[in-house]
C-alpha cells in the first residue's frame, strides 16, 4: 500500500503578493497582478503587459535577509523567499530531522544575470561571481543550503509544466518510502531572454490575458516562486500541525506532436488528466474544480477546453484559469496554481477566470466568471502544460475526505 502524501506548508511570492496571506487577500478581492514592467529592462516593455513581482532585486535581498548581495540571481532570490516561507509554514525548522528532499523547477535559471553580464563574461573578469549562477541548479542549491536540505536534491525543467512535475516526483518519492518530506515547487524570474522568445513565437497578448475568451490573443508572462511541503501521513502527524490538503493524483503525458503547439483536440491534456484520475482512484464526477492551464493562447485553450469536455462527460466541474491573476509564471506556474487550487479547498471558494467577456462557443462549459464564496470544495485538479507537449495534471483533496 503506497503511503499517503499531504501538504503541510505553503510559500508563494508573485505579482499578487509577497507571501501566502497577501496572496489570499488578492484572490479574495479579485486583484490581478498584471501591469506594466517596472524592473525588467525589456525592449518589449511598452508593447505587452506583464505580471512582474513588484519588488526590485535590492528589496528581494532584504526580504531574503541576505547581507552579502553578490552572486544571487533574481530567480534564486524569489525561490529562496518562497521556499523558506513554505518550510517555516510547515514548522520544519522546529521539528526533528526526517529524510527530506528538495525538488525545484526552473527553466531560465539565472538567465536574468547572465543576459546582463554576457558581454562581461566574454571579455573581462568583472562579473565572474555570476558565471556559476547561470545554470538551473544554482537556485536549487542555494535553497538547499538555506534550508539545510541534503538528503535528496534535484532540479526539473520541462518548460511550463516544470513545477507540476516537481510536485509529481515529490509525491512519488514519498509514496515509495524513499523520503519522508519534500519541499517541491518552482521559481522563475522574468528575463529579456524569454520575453523575446515568447514575442518571437507571437503568443503574447497586447492586453492582459483572456483565457477561454473567444477573443483571446495570447498569454501574459508573469514571474515568481511557489513551494509546497509534502509529507508522508506519518511524518505530517508529528508536531500537531495543520494539513491543508492531500496530493492524491498525478499524471504526466507527452503529446509527441509539436514543440510549441498542442494537438487541436488536446490529446496530451486528456491523457494527463485521465492518468491523474486513475492514480487517485477518484471518479470524474467527484472533481469540484479544475484550475486550468488556460494560458489565453488560441491553441492551448481550445485544446485543453475540448479535452476537459471529453473527459468529464457527465458533469463538467467548475473551471477557471488563474493566469489573469498571476500571469503565466512559466516554470513556477505548476506549483503556484497548485497552491491556488488548494486555497479553494481551505478558503471554501472557487477562483474566478478574470477578463472573461465572450466565452468560447466551441466549449461545453463556461469558466467561472466571478469569485464564489462559502462553497464546499473537496477535490481539485490543477493542469500544467509545457513546450514539447509536456502535460501534467495534479489532483488535491480535502484532508480526510472520503
Amino acid at each position: 500500500m503506497a503511503r499517503g502524501v499531504v501538504i503541510t506548508g505553503i510559500g508563494i511570492l508573485s505579482s499578487i503578493g509577497r507571501n501566502l496571506p497577501e496572496t489570499i487577500e488578492s484572490v479574495l478581492t479579485s486583484r490581478s497582478g498584471i501591469g506594466t514592467l517596472q524592473h525588467l529592462d525589456s525592449s518589449h516593455k511598452d508593447e505587452f503587459p506583464f505580471a512582474e513581482v513588484p519588488w526590485s532585486n535590492a528589496q528581494l535581498l532584504e526580504l531574503a535577509q541576505l547581507t552579502d548581495p553578490l552572486g544571487y540571481s533574481r530567480n534564486t532570490l524569489l525561490g529562496m523567499i518562497a521556499a523558506k516561507e513554505a518550510f517555516h509554514h510547515a514548522r520544519l525548522d522546529q521539528l526533528p530531522h526526517l529524510r527530506t528532499g528538495l525538488i525545484s523547477a526552473t527553466t531560465v535559471g539565472g538567465m536574468d544575470r547572465c543576459e546582463l553580464y554576457f558581454n562581461d563574461f566574454l571579455t573581462n573578469d568583472s562579473k565572474n561571481q555570476y558565471i556559476d549562477v547561470y545554470d538551473c541548479a544554482d537556485s536549487t542549491e542555494k535553497i538547499a543550503d538555506l534550508l539545510r536540505i541534503g538528503d535528496y536534491v534535484t532540479t526539473i525543467s520541462t518548460a511550463c509544466s516544470s513545477a507540476a512535475n516537481a510536485l509529481l516526483l515529490g509525491a512519488r518519492m514519498i509514496r515509495s518510502g524513499r523520503l519522508d518530506r519534500v519541499v517541491a515547487g518552482g521559481t522563475e524570474a522574468l528575463t529579456s531572454f524569454h520575453v523575446n522568445g515568447f514575442s518571437a513565437l507571437k503568443i503574447l497578448d497586447k492586453m492582459p490575458c483572456r483565457p477561454f475568451d473567444a477573443n483571446r490573443n495570447g498569454l501574459t508572462l508573469g514571474e515568481g516562486a511557489a513551494y509546497l511541503v509534502l509529507e508522508s501521513e506519518e511524518a505530517a502527524h508529528i508536531g500537531n500541525r495543520k494539513i491543508f490538503a492531500e496530493l492524491v493524483g498525478y499524471g504526466n503525458a507527452c503529446e509527441a506532436f509539436h514543440q510549441t503547439a498542442s494537438t487541436p483536440d488536446g490529446k496530451g491534456a486528456f491523457l494527463a488528466m485521465e492518468r491523474a484520475l486513475k492514480i487517485s482512484g477518484i471518479n470524474a464526477l467527484s472533481v469540484d474544480y479544475i484550475n486550468a492551464h488556460g494560458t489565453g493562447t488560441d491553441n492551448n485553450d481550445i485544446a485543453e477546453g475540448l479535452a476537459i469536455g471529453r473527459l468529464f462527460v457527465e458533469k463538467i466541474p467548475d473551471v477557471s484559469s488563474t493566469k489573469p491573476f498571476t500571469g503565466h509564471m512559466t516554470s513556477a506556474a505548476g506549483s503556484a496554481e497548485a497552491i491556488l487550487s488548494i486555497l479553494c479547498i481551505t478558503e471554501r471558494i472557487i477562483l474566478p477566470n478574470l477578463n472573461l467577456e465572450n466565452p468560447m462557443p466551441e466549449l461545453r462549459f463556461t469558466p467561472v466568471p466571478k469569485l464564489i464564496r462559502g462553497i464546499d470544495v473537496n477535490v481539485v485538479m490543477s493542469n500544467s502544460f509545457g513546450f514539447g507537449g509536456n502535460n501534467t495534471s495534479l489532483i488535491f483533496q480535502k484532508p480526510n475526505h472520503k
Binding site: S43, T107, G109, E115, F118, N119, F121, L122, D125, N128, I131, D132, D135, C136, A137, E141, A144, D145, R148, I149, G150, Y152, V153, T154, T155, I156, S157, T158, A159, L169, R172, M173, S176, R178, S192, F193, H194, N196, G197, F198, S199, A200, L201, N252, A253, C254, E255, A256, F257, H258, Q259, T260, K267, G268, L271, G386, F387, G388, G389, N390
Partner: protein
C-alpha cells in the same frame, strides 16, 4: 528495483557509436576541450528536419535511436533525460543577438534552448505519448534520470525506459566558465591528463542513451542495480560511510566489488577527493577512470555507465582505463563514483546479469 541495460547509444569524443565495438582504439587529442565525434546524422534523422535542429538535439535523437535499435525496442514506456546545460549553442545565439541589440526574429533557437526539447524531440520522433521528463541539476542530472526510471519500474508503471545524459561544450562557454576556474587554462593532451597537476579539469561533451528494461534479452549488457546522489551539504558527507551504506543497502560489501570507476578529471584540487577514497575504502579494489577519454561534463557518468556496461558484457577491461595495478578474476560487480567540485557526488552500481 533493478533494471536490465538492454541497449546503449553513445556519441562521445571516442569511437563509440557502433554498439558492436568496445573501444577498438583510443583517440588522442591535444585540445582545449574534447569534442564529440559527430556521426553521420543523415543516417538517423530526416535531412529536412535535421537542418533546423541544433547539434545537441541531433546528438540526442541519434544516440536515442541507436540505443533503441540495440535493444530491439520501438516504444519505451518513459523517456527521461538529464542535461546540465541543455543547448548551449542556441542559448548563445539568442544572447549574442540580444547583445547586438537585435530583435529575435526566429523562435527556433528559443524553443531549442528549452531544456526538455531533447526529450520532447525524441518523443515526437517516436510518437511516444508516455511519461516524459528532464533533469537539469549539474552532475546529478543523469543520475536523477536513472533514479526516476528505477522508481517507475518499482511502481510497475513502466517496463521499459529510455534514459539519457547529454551535454555539449562550445568555445564561448569554455571561455566563460574558464574564468570561474572550471577548466585548465591551456590545451592539454588527454592521455597525459593526470601529469599536468594543475587546477581545472579538461572539458568534454557527449550524449548517452540507455534502454532499460525490467527483463533481460539477448543483448543485455548488465543490470543497473541502484543510483544515488549525495549533495555534500556544508561538507558534511563522509563518502567512505556513504559508499559502505549504499553497498549494504544493495546487500553487498566492498570486497565483492570487482572494480570501481572513479571520476578523475585532472583538477589537482578536487582529484584529491578520489585519492582519499582510493587509498581508503577502495585500496584493495581495482580502480578505473574514464574522463581522459570523454572529458568532464555534467552528464559524463553516461560515458562511465557505457564503460561499465561494456566491461560486464565483454568481461574485458581495456588497458586505457586502468588506474591502479590490481586485477580481478571475474567481473561481476562494478561501482561508479563521480563527484564535481566535492559538492555533487554520485554512486551507480551495476552487476552482471
Amino acid at each position: 528495483m533493478a533494471a536490465f541495460i538492454n541497449g546503449i547509444g553513445l556519441i562521445s569524443p571516442q569511437q563509440t557509436t557502433d554498439p558492436a565495438m568496445f573501444l577498438p582504439e583510443v583517440m588522442e587529442y591535444t585540445a582545449d576541450f574534447l569534442h564529440a565525434i559527430n556521426p553521420n546524422y543523415k543516417k538517423f534523422i530526416n535531412p529536412i528536419e535535421a537542418r533546423r535542429m541544433s547539434r545537441l538535439i541531433k546528438m540526442g535523437i541519434t544516440s536515442a535511436k541507436i540505443a533503441l535499435a540495440d535493444a530491439g525496442c520501438q516504444m519505451p514506456d518513459a523517456i527521461i533525460t538529464g542535461t546540465g546545460l541543455g543547448s548551449v549553442e542556441d542559448t548563445e545565439k539568442i544572447l549574442s543577438s540580444m547583445n547586438a541589440g537585435e530583435q529575435l526574429m526566429s523562435p527556433t533557437p528559443f524553443i531549442q534552448s528549452t531544456y526538455n526539447t531533447i526529450s520532447s524531440q525524441i518523443a515526437i520522433t517516436l510518437k511516444c505519448l508516455n511519461y516524459n521528463s528532464t533533469y537539469v541539476h549539474r552532475s546529478f542530472s543523469f543520475e536523477s534520470a536513472l533514479q526516476d526510471a528505477l522508481l517507475q519500474f518499482e511502481e510497475e508503471v513502466a517496463a521499459t525506459a529510455l534514459v539519457g545524459g547529454i551535454d555539449e561544450m562550445t568555445d564561448n562557454h569554455l571561455q566563460i566558465t574558464r574564468r570561474a576556474g572550471h577548466w585548465k587554462t591551456l590545451a592539454v593532451n588527454n592521455l597525459q591528463l593526470l601529469s599536468y597537476k594543475t587546477p581545472g579539469a579538461l572539458a568534454g561533451e557527449g550524449a548517452a542513451y540507455f534502454l532499460l528494461e525490467n527483463q533481460p534479452n539477448s543483448s543485455t549488457y548488465g543490470i543497473l542495480k541502484d543510483a544515488k546522489t549525495i549533495y555534500n551539504l556544508e561538507g558534511s558527507a563522509n563518502m567512505e560511510d556513504v559508499v559502505a551504506t549504499f553497498l549494504s543497502a544493495n546487500e553487498m560489501d566492498i570486497n565483492q566489488l570487482n572494480a570501481v570507476i572513479l571520476g578523475y578529471n585532472g583538477d589537482i584540487e578536487f582529484d584529491r577527493v578520489y585519492d582519499r577514497v582510493g587509498s581508503g575504502i577502495f585500496r584493495q579494489t581495482q580502480q578505473l577512470w574514464y574522463k581522459h577519454l570523454c572529458g568532464e561534463y555534467y552528464t559524463s557518468t553516461g560515458f562511465a555507465l557505457w564503460l561499465a556496461a561494456n566491461i560486464l558484457k565483454h568481461q574485458l577491461i581495456p588497458a586505457s582505463v586502468k588506474f591502479n595495478n590490481l586485477n580481478s578474476d571475474k567481473l561481476q560487480h562494478i561501482l561508479i563514483y563521480n563527484q564535481y567540485r566535492n559538492t555533487n557526488h554520485s554512486l551507480i552500481l551495476l552487476s552482471n546479469k
